[in-house]
Amino acid sequence: MKLVKITIIVLCMSLFSPTAAFAHKMLIDAFAQEDETILVEALFPDGSPVKNCKVEIFAEDGRLFKEGTTDEDGRFVLKSEGATGTYKAVVTGTLGHRAEVSFAIEKFEEVAEEAERPSEISPQKMKLSPKEKFPWLEIIAGLGFIFGLSSFILCLKLRSEFKNASTRNR
């Protein structure tokens, strides 16, 4: 009996330790690069890439501009072909995962003229931070909400039960 208790406690602790990888949503980012290409990258919050998933690039008017799939590193690179303006990248993963991001393509000619300047946008740089902080605050907020909601429901239920009891007594 004691053994079972200890096993459950150890199991729970190992599950809820902050080192356990977590979360489920997709992080995506898309941006234009100096060599007239667009880089779209998609990661799961633990840093693992979203492999072989469909990427669609939409223009501002909702027209499909380009589509493709991410590679083994969760990236998709395409030529921007001189396009400018605001675009939207949508990554559709398997099993109902989906994320979208808007980005702007600007002309890089002006940047090229000032080539001496240290490059601020180094090409092929991962812009996404692969690891997110463990959402302690959100967990506490959520548990607090559950506590408050259950107290509220308990109050309502008890109130109606007391009312029923008092009318029966009369």
Partner: protein
């Protein structure tokens, strides 16, 4: 296995929302005051479980615990899962706001199924029957969730067998882990607090 915003078509997610609202309404009316702490406890467990995540090839899976929630709450599991999913969507950005109904149906129906599967353990009198049926219910709930996920994604134009295979395959480790967790918890509760299992 949360479906994100913008994946399902409007009729599908509104339909799921209606189903969820109906079942939740019925459950809330049936619910008694003394059920509240149990539901709150299981909602909290469900809410946090989704943070425990296992990378699996092209997708990502995490613990769901819908089987365990179902075993302990029975048909009231729907309420717990709905609240848990709303909090996950708002706080962790898991899944989407519009797809809360779809996700609740996907995890809630198997949870209720797990409850009835677990109740079968009373037909068998041997010592570990509760543990075995707990493990079965925990695993089957995840399996059914994966199947409902595939059914919902069929409406987006993907092929059922392909998605179902992928979903079940990706959730295989989750099924095993949740089966073990459910077996442990059920065996423990059976000995210290059998009334929590509706005995």
């Amino acid at each position: 296995m949360h479906i994100a915003d913008g994946v399902l078509s409007v009729p599908v997610w509104t339909g799921c929302l209606a189903v969820t609202a109906a079942i939740t309404g019925v459950s809330l009316r049936k619910m008694k005051a003394e059920d509240t702490p149990r539901i709150a406890l299981m909602t909290s467990a469900f809410f946090i479980a989704s943070l425990i995540h296992i990378p699996m090839g092209p997708t990502s899976v995490h613990l769901i615990l819908n089987g365990l929630v179902g075993i302990i709450l029975g048909p009231l599991a729907f309420v717990a899962i709905l609240v848990g999913l709303i909090l996950q969507a708002v706080l962790f950005k898991h899944g989407g706001i519009t797809t809360i109904g779809a996700n609740t149906v996907m995890m809630g129906l198997p949870a209720v199924g797990a409850y009835y599967l677990f109740r079968l353990h009373r037909l068998f009198k041997f010592r570990v029957s509760a543990g075995i049926f707990g493990a079965l219910a925990g695993g089957v709930a995840v399996f059914l969730g994966a199947v409902i996920l595939a059914l919902l994604l069929v409406t987006t134009g993907s092929e059922f067998i392909v998605v179902a295979k992928l979903a079940v395959w990706a959730h295989l480790p989750v099924m095993v882990i949740e089966g073990l967790i459910a077996a442990f918890v059920v065996t423990f509760l059976k000995q210290v607090k059998p009334e929590m299992l509706g005995a």
